[in-house]
Amino acid sequence: MLNKIYDWVDERLDITPIWRDIADHEVPEHVNPAHHFSAFVYCFGGLTFFVTVIQILSGMFLTMYYVPDVENAWKSVYYLQNEVAFGEIVRGMHHWGASLVIVMMFLHTLRVFFTGSYKKPRELNWIVGVLIFCVMLGLGFTGYLLPWDMKALFATKVGLEIAGSVPFLGDLIKILLAGDAEIIGAQTLTRFFAIHVFFLPAALFALLAAHFIMIRKQGISGPL
């Protein structure tokens, strides 16, 4: 039955080459931790993606309870943390995952750097990688405000002051992010929520797609 459905779709859309390409490509020995234990350094990128997937899933569940509004944001997080079944686990995974993404991405960047893998022909993929790094830091910064507790408010205040010190564009950037030149309040929270949940993830998906397509196109860099 499933085979027949597959054949029916394949006959029309020729989907076989798409997944066979992903499934069949050869993985060289020098990145395989089963052959060389030290090759675990080649797992950092994959683990970053793994945590990213967990971040997306846990974040989707968090938005089922979270309310992006100054009156209720903290209350909804407190409720989620203390009353909702497994809420503490889901929020905990999102909280620690945010740190782990940074750690694994940092290690992945160092691996690519010290194996010289950014060199020709992989320059574009390196640039996309650095952009992913920036998007992840942006996700960390905007996500930190959302619980609307004391540390969130005051850390964001400092961060926005730094953004505001950019020459010429500082005030514009600050108003764009915070919704006001001075006040960090209701407008800031909804903007950070929108940036954290819609704008940056959209950018992240596009960049990740480019990152992976380029890896498939170019293959992984050879042994040193």
Partner: protein
């Protein structure tokens, strides 16, 4: 169509592709050794690494519940801010003389901007064909220096932060949870008006007497004499002599505050 299982479209207007094969898996024969197919052989190994990683991740989640401080209060002027740990090195940088104050632009924009700029342009700054770190000493040394600086700045930031005070200043109190003690506030009492007129009182203990930067006064355990003594001489983080007024007003204020006892 030569591809896949051979597609036939009704009224197909597409030009037949030239005879190149599409999506041919890349050949790794230039790297002799034990190559293996991504699916399922290699992916299985990646999943094993992922499973070990996930165990550590979940242990961390279970052992350390994610922190939550009291709700944001923009009027609290005494809160010492701290960003999340992975921004600490940038934050620490802003504490040095030539990266803060009039030189703020250096610490806030120039140094991070140069670092990100150099990182993004790395393939064009280091164009040589050598890949081994030892064969390209300058990029290697610069990167080691940058990483060492990040670790050092993060460390400095951590050891110079008062974590005990940070924990106390953000604590969730009964007030935040709507669990204030059952105290009836007599807003016609002379002490109440004196309290509201004292900026130093309201600033720390809140206009609702439930505490702001300082502790809550509702449901306190003190007698009027003890309250007067604390107002005059201070206690803990409370400064002495902040009260502005006559002895009679002080007496009325102390009696009012001592009267904020929980109903039996």
């Amino acid at each position: 169509m030569q591809r896949g299982k051979g597609m036939k479209f009704v009224g197909d207007s597409r030009i037949k592709a030239n005879n190149r094969m599409v999506n041919q898996p890349k050949d790794y024969s230039e790297y002799p050794g034990k190559t293996e197919a991504f699916w399922p052989d290699f992916l299985l190994k990646e999943w094993m690494v992922g499973a070990v990683f996930l165990i550590g991740y979940l242990l961390l989640t279970v052992a350390h519940p994610s922190p939550l401080e009291g709700p944001a209060d923009p009027t609290n002027a005494s809160y010492i801010p701290l960003p999340d740990w992975y921004f600490l090195f940038l934050y620490q940088l802003l504490k040095y003389t030539y990266a803060s104050g009039p030189y703020n632009i250096i610490g806030a924009i120039v140094v991070p901007g140069l670092a990100i700029g150099a990182l993004i342009l790395m393939p064009f700054l280091d164009k040589g064909p050598e890949r081994r770190p030892s064969k390209r000493p300058i990029p290697t040394a610069l990167m080691i220096l940058a990483v060492a600086a990040m670790f050092y700045l993060t460390w400095e930031s951590v050891v110079n932060h008062d974590w005990e005070a940070a924990k106390a200043q953000g604590a969730i109190t009964d007030k935040h949870l709507g669990l204030l003690p059952d105290v009836e506030i007599d807003e016609t009492a002379p002490g109440y008006e004196i309290y509201q007129a004292q900026a130093s009182c309201v600033g720390c203990h809140g206009g609702d007497l439930a505490g702001a930067g300082g502790p809550m006064l509702l449901g306190n355990e003190l007698t009027a004499e003890e309250v007067a003594e604390v107002i005059q001489n201070g206690r803990g983080g409370m400064p002495a002599g902040a009260f502005q007024g006559t002895d009679e007003e002080l007496q009325q204020l102390a009696e009012f505050i001592a009267g904020l006892k929980e109903a039996e």
